[in-house]
């Protein structure tokens, strides 16, 4: 009989709409991060580094990039004879076929997958955080407390606690209550969205609540467990953990990697982060280039000047171009004589010569003011930007644009150009 002590279920189906054009064509966990990684690499690497070798990845929104990235799990050593990684999309059933309608609903729909491994514990993860964590230590904590459910929590400044789900725990760590985004938080223990369930408890709760619409862990499963006297514990985590849910926090987390000794250090031998890289050749820094305070991925060809930036694999930057405070993702090509300030430029973008990005004053975005802020200019994947145009701050561009899309040669601060591809 197949038996795994703990299996992981990784929720990777969300769009992450607050990342704007970055998640227009890919699910948030597949968004590039840190020059060569994708966000999902962090939980997947944590799994294998923690000895969790059976991972179900639940996909729904735009799964193509995720599917091809994960494949059979070779980069994470998750290609196993028994277990390994399995991509679990929603599927048609003889009755009640539905999409994944909530976090717990997605897990409920994969009961057969979990059952097939006879686990003692199930680890629930989400695919949108940057952190290194040993889930085995958390499991030890769970066992020592004879817990039914352990929630990983992070102490945050009390004034920020109202942005999170907050756990109220006694001195033994036992959770007595919790509240979702409270106005006046009673605790500073923010839930990280990482749970270890004893399998029986998870199965019981899911089956009992199976008719609940949009079945959700925070809204339904946790209250159910609390109200039925289950043993809930808070596992305090004090390492680096970053939610990259908004363009602002995504940009900031990338910028933190270039500190001299970054708080989140990718250069430690211990606890490697694995990814599927399609380029292994070295990068070339030319005679005319200058690079200072930045990280640059494999195969990049730099002829311009780059400072305070994160540059992905295979990026080409032309002569005389100046890049500052920006994120340029893999395979993007930037012409000569450009100036880019505070840009987030997704993969496979083509930018012509003498383009200026991040000019002028900030203005609220006309399209989605809550999404496009922080003075950033965000360019979606496969966008084309013609020669000589200027782009303001708090802007977004996606699709193949031509000079006509830029009245007077400029996209003013707060502007948006969103072009559809054929077939959309």
């Amino acid at each position: 009989m197949v038996k795994k002590e703990m299996i992981a279920m990784l929720l990777a189906g969300g769009q992450g709409s607050r990342l704007g054009v970055l998640t227009e064509k890919v699910a948030k966990p597949a968004v590039a991060f840190g020059g060569k990684y994708r966000i999902i690499d962090f939980p997947l690497s944590n799994c294998i580094n923690s000895g969790v070798d059976t991972v179900g990845v639940l996909t729904q929104y735009q799964p193509l990039r995720l599917n091809s990235h994960i494949g059979i799990g070779i980069p994470w050593d998750l290609d196993k004879n028994v277990g390994g990684v399995s991509v679990l999309p929603p599927y048609e059933k003889s009755a009640n076929s539905e999409w994944y309608t909530g976090t717990a609903n997605a897990i409920l729909q994969n009961m057969a997958y979990m059952d097939s491994f006879n686990p003692d514990y199930v680890l629930i993860l989400s695919g949108d955080h940057i952190y290194k964590m040993d889930y085995e230590v958390m499991l030890d904590y769970h066992k020592a407390n004879k817990a039914d459910l352990t929630v990983a929590c992070m102490p945050v400044p009390i004034e920020e606690a109202s942005r999170f789900g907050v756990m109220i725990a006694d001195e033994t760590g036992r959770i007595t209550d919790f509240e979702e985004k409270p106005e006046h938080p009673r605790s500073n223990l923010a839930s990280m969205g990482i749970y270890i369930f004893s399998w029986k408890i998870l199965k019981d709760s899911l089956l009992t609540l199976k008719n609940q619409p949009n079945l959700d862990f925070g809204k339904h499963i946790l209250p159910y467990c609390r109200d039925n006297g289950k043993r809930l514990f808070a596992y305090e985590f004090n390492g680096y953990w970053k939610d990259v849910g908004t363009l602002g926090s995504y940009w900031e987390a990338n910028m933190e990697l270039i500190d001299i000794i970054p708080e989140f250090n990718l250069y430690e031998e211990f606890w490697k982060i694995y990814t599927k890289g399609d380029i292994i050749r070295p990068q070339y820094i030319s005679e005319s280039a200058s690079v200072d305070r930045c990280i640059i991925g494999e195969g990049a060809e730099i002829y311009g000047s780059v400072s305070n930036s994160v540059i992905g694999m295979g990026v080409e930057i032309g002569e005389g171009t100046v890049i500052r405070d920006s994120i340029i993702m893999s395979h993007t090509r930037i012409g000569a004589g450009c100036v880019i300030n505070k840009g987030i430029i997704a993969e496979n973008v083509e930018i012509g010569n003498n383009v200026e990005i991040g000019v002028g004053e900030e203005a609220p975005n006309v399209y989605k003011p809550a999404v496009y802020g922080w003075g950033l200019a965000t360019i979606g994947e496969k966008t084309v930007i013609p020669d000589g145009v200027k782009v303001g701050k708090n802007t977004c561009i996606s699709g193949v644009t031509t000079a006509e899309d830029y009245p007077d040669g400029i996209l003013q601060g707060g502007g948006a150009i969103l072009k559809k591809e054929d077939g959309e």
Partner: protein, 371 residues
């Protein structure tokens, strides 16, 4: 596929000096992120040759580590695979490989049990990109017994190569191994195509006669009896088995056209994946005309150089016209010029190394985390 592959990677070269003290020539790091053998292996896999034997002997461990998993080159399939053969003691033989022909003879079973009609034989120290199918087609069209891929010598002195003279039909008229005086600048690249049955027959006969070398005892000895043809290859080719050619070949990759030739199309060069983070440039770094590999952390000045993976360059360092191999630590204020720094070296702060007349090979083993 109609052919299987053999990569002869057993050799040492005294011309490599200290660089081959700890590794086989075929395991020499090349172009920042590769090993020499990756080029032949990638050519094999890109030419759809699915079954490849690597014959290793000298410092075989270095190669075995690199070839530990065959998946990076897309081998390790149910059909075919990557076979690493080091000499073993058997009931019949307790010899080392006494030469290239002997190396094949000692693994004749593998050759006999294959069913593909042809064999492509290459060496592990050539840096090139070649579709072996083209050579095979040529071989068949010429109705050759043996085809030798040859090229114009990339070095001024070709006396370390096999030198060939071809007639107007490209049939080999003369073939001299490492001649004292060279009469031609056409050299063998060490890449051969031959029918499998013929190879078995010749290697067996060779063994009976107590001869062991593929070139001397088969190709040269039989050059008038067998139809041996030269396949003219005029694209990039270099052999890295001397310190100078190793240095020159690595420096070639600073040229955009060389990088474009090797990396600009779908003919991938594959290597073992090391899972290193992107290169990091800290304040004070100044890099000009250099190749920098993943995992490097740069705090100083780097010019006209190739840095392999995981190199740490301290504050105020100056690196010029040099090759720094994998996982080297350069302490602050170090000056390196015209050097090849051996992998895993730790260079103390304030060191000075400069190759005055020629390239200096720096081997320095210090405690990395000494206080």
């Amino acid at each position: 596929m109609r052919a299987i592959g053999i990569i002869l990677a057993g050799g040492n070269s005294s011309r490599m000096g200290a660089l081959s003290d700890k590794r086989a020539v075929a395991a020499m790091p090349v172009a920042g992120a590769y090993r020499s053998i990756d080029f032949s292996l990638s050519n094999m896999t890109n030419s759809h040759i699915q079954k490849v034997a690597v014959l290793t002997q000298y410092n075989a461990r270095s190669l075995n580590e690199h070839l530990m998993s065959s998946k990076w080159w897309n081998f390790g399939r149910k059909q075919g695979g990557l076979y690493v053969f080091t000499p073993t003691v058997t009931a019949e033989s307790s010899w080392w490989y006494r030469g290239t022909a002997d190396a094949i003879y000692q693994n004749l079973k593998w050759l006999k049990e294959s069913h593909e009609p042809y064999v492509v034989i290459t060496s592990g120290d050539g840096i090139y990109k070649l579709d072996y199918n083209k050579v095979l087609e040529y071989h068949i069209s010429k109705r050759a017994d043996i085809t030798i891929v040859c090229t114009e010598c990339p070095e001024a002195d070709c006396s370390r190569f096999g030198v060939l003279k071809l007639n107007e039909d490209n049939r080999v008229e003369e073939f001299e191994e490492k001649p004292m005086v060279t009469s031609s600048n056409i050299i063998s690249t060490g890449i051969y195509v031959i029918r499998r049955r013929l190879l078995i027959e010749m290697v067996e006969r060779c063994a009976q006669e107590n001869r062991h070398d593929l070139v001397q005892d088969i190709f040269i000895r039989y050059k008038n009896l067998k139809r041996i043809y030269g396949y003219r290859f005029d694209e990039y080719w270099n052999n890295i088995a001397t310190v100078d050619s190793f240095y020159r070949t690595n420096m070639d990759f600073l040229k955009p056209d060389v990088r474009k030739y090797f990396f600009g199309d779908s003919w991938g060069i594959y290597s073992k994946i090391d899972d290193l983070p992107p290169a990091k440039y800290n304040p004070g770094s100044m890099v000009k005309n250099s190749l920098i590999s993943s995992g490097c952390i740069i705090n100083g000045k780097v010019e006209n150089s190739v840095l392999f993976k995981d190199v740490f360059v301290g504050n105020n360092c100056v690196i010029k016209n040099s090759i720094i191999l994998n996982n080297v630590y350069l302490g602050d204020n170090t000056h390196i010029e015209n050097c090849i720094v051996e992998s895993n070296d730790t260079i103390r702060a304030n060191s000075y190394h400069s190759g005055e007349d020629g390239i200096k090979v720096v081997v320095e083993k210090n405690e990395r985390y000494a206080i």
